[in-house]
């Protein structure tokens, strides 16, 4: 009996997840677009018109919104199915019996999350552009940097999603969003630039444990370089480290859950 190539099985697993994702595309888009849409309407359009925030605020806001959308999409697209699979339905069993080393099955899940994160970014960027109108200082010149931040950010958060999904029980999903995801969003430099925290040094260095900070700041550096931001080199280094750490922890957690 000839053995099957890893890439063949990996490709089949990926096709399965993309098939399911394609079927759920309308829900995915709705989920992805809703929060940034509301933020853009309120913070990017209404508040500046009311005069509560300066009109330049949209420049600070856009990269954060983009970072938030792509990371949330990546986390959710992995966490929710994993929690269900491990917690209730055990549906993943048939994939765990596929002739491929189990760490590849975990890796495939992360890749699916990355793809969904990138798609979220592709959807949200033009959408917010359309709604906010002209954004002072916005540029796509550093497209390579945008791409690198997008892929690294999606990978970090997809791996984090797998880690969470392989660790928590279904009953803890609600808790995870209020205790873990919500603070991460608010301290993730999504609605304000990191350098703005210069006035509160404790917060400035405290938020560095939040992985979202690097995605937001990376987007800021790439898309609106004139807003004060963390150096891109630091961002990319930090994100590379986070990818390795979360990937390792996530695969370990997955194996622990998948193999008795």
């Amino acid at each position: 009996m000839t053995s099957i190539r890893v890439s063949t099985v990996f490709g089949a697993l990926l096709r399965r997840d993309l098939r399911v994702a394609r079927r759920e595309l309308p829900y995915f888009l709705l989920r992805t677009i809703m929060q940034p849409l509301l933020f853009i309407i309120v913070f990017g359009s209404l508040l500046p018109k009311m005069g509560f925030v300066r009109s330049g605020y949209t420049t600070a806001l856009l990269p954060g919104i983009l970072a938030l959308s792509l990371t949330l999409a990546a986390v959710q697209s992995v966490t929710l199915p994993m929690v269900q699979d491990f917690g209730w339905t055990k549906e993943i069993e048939d994939r765990l019996l596929a002739p491929i080393p189990t760490p590849y099955i975990a890796a495939e899940k992360i890749v699916v999350g990355v793809i969904q994160g990138v798609i979220a970014a592709l959807v949200v960027l033009p959408a917010s552009w359309l709604i906010m109108g002209s954004i002072p200082g916005f540029t796509l010149v550093h497209f390579g940097a945008v791409l690198a931040v997008t892929v690294l950010g999606a990978t970090t958060f997809s791996a984090l999603g797998l880690l969470i999904g392989s660790t928590i029980s279904p009953q803890q999903i609600g808790l995870m969003f209020s205790v873990f995801i919500a603070p991460m969003i608010f301290f993730g430099c999504t609605y304000y630039p990191w350098r703005g925290l210069d006035v509160v040094p404790v917060a400035k260095y405290g938020v560095l444990i939040d992985p979202l900070v690097y995605v937001s700041e990376g987007m800021r550096g790439a898309l609106t370089p004139e807003v004060p931001h963390m150096p891109l080199a630091v961002v990319l280094l930090a994100m590379s480290i986070l990818v390795v750490v979360f990937w390792t922890l996530a695969v370990r957690a997955f194996l622990k859950r998948a193999v008795g």
Binding site: T8, P99, G260
Partner: protein, 332 residues
């Protein structure tokens, strides 16, 4: 001929359950009981021949599912070795997976896919191209009598139909060894009989089948050989005929009394035709080599001991009586 499955000293110890305080009793004794590791398998040695229909019979918690889990690479043994279809389950897990098909205890189809897609994607995981997979899937659905459900959502299938889908899935990559873990639990009697026919057909094709069950009749009807396991240990292993012949003393008669059965023991033992007795709680178990003839005398013996008869159970010599004599308890 090399065996389809060989295990040597297979042992599995689960870490102590992380007990939640206040749930399973309190105090140091309860804590100590909770903290003890659970030994699911105590060094199991098995050998299953190529083409054999092999049964693992035992009550819940006997270690059956753990054994299947190890043999299907889903659980890692604490010690010992297992070879399945020529490959080591630990060192060559991928090769083992390629050669086995698994029907799980509870149907776990991919609910995001329809019936046909379930088979198509599973085949793809095993490197089977779409064209070949389509042909195989249609043939399997036809043979298992659910061809009209090909485009149905999995949730629209009955329990029996889902179980057939699980068989189809386990077969689509043409495995050499098929594992079935309590495949007929939750099926109505008619669906169970239909399922047996399917299993007989598979066996007729020369496939090796390993099935766990806690239905004696199922094991008796289907299996070439049966291993009786309990508490993670192999208690007996032979053909159903030999095992039944080993059933001690033939017929088992159980007298359920109104209180502690011990005082009735000696009088019951003295009844002519009774080959063995034991008392467990309010139950006297007597094995008879004269079938039901001994019942009146047993009732008299119980009543003379100051006990009132509440109920009486009667079992012809069977795997069940053997099992009770081996383990001291019933199967379910």
């Amino acid at each position: 001929m090399t065996p389809a499955i060989r295990t040597q000293g297979l042992r599995k110890v689960y870490p102590p359950p992380s007990g939640r305080p206040g749930r399973n009793g309190r105090g140091p004794a309860a804590a100590a009981a909770q903290a003890a590791p659970i030994v699911a398998l105590h060094g199991l040695d098995l050998e299953v021949a190529e083409g054999e229909f092999f049964g693992l019979l035992g009550p819940n918690g006997a270690g059956k599912t753990t054994t299947i889990g190890i043999l299907t690479t889903r659980i890692i043994a604490t010690a010992g070795q297992a070879i399945v279809a020529g490959a080591d389950v630990l060192l060559e897990a991928v090769a083992v997976r390629q050669r086995i098909g698994v029907v799980p205890q509870r149907p776990n189809p991919d609910r995001s896919l329809d019936v046909f897609e379930n088979l198509l994607y599973h085949a793809a995981y095993f490197g089977i191209g779409t064209q070949a997979a389509t042909a195989r899937a249609l043939a399997l659905l036809e043979r298992l009598g659910i061809a009209d459900k090909a485009r149905a959502k999995v949730d629209e299938l009955s329990g029996g139909q889902q179980q057939r889908l699980m068989i189809a899935r386990a077969l689509i990559h043409d495995p050499r060894v098929i594992f079935l873990d309590e495949p007929t639990v939750g099926l109505d009697p008619q669906a169970r009989l239909a399922f047996w026919e399917i299993l007989r057909e598979l066996h007729g094709q020369g496939r090796t089948i390993i099935m766990t069950t806690h239905y004696m009749e199922e094991a008796d009807q289907l299996c070439d050989r049966i291993a009786i396991v309990d508490g993670g240990r192999l208690l007996a292993l032979d053909t159903p005929e030999v095992l039944k012949a080993r059933a001690p003393g033939g017929t088992l008669i159980e007298l359920v009394l109104d209180s502690d059965a011990t005082p009735a023991l000696e009088r019951a033992r003295a009844v002519l035709g009774v080959t063995g007795v034991e008392a467990r709680g309010v139950v006297v178990r007597a094995f008879s080599d004269r079938g039901g003839e001994v019942i009146p005398a047993l009732i008299t013996a119980a009543e003379q001991s100051g006990r009132t008869l509440k109920n009486i159970n009667f079992s012809a010599p069977s795997l069940e009586t053997l099992f009770i004599s081996l383990t001291g308890r019933k199967l379910d």
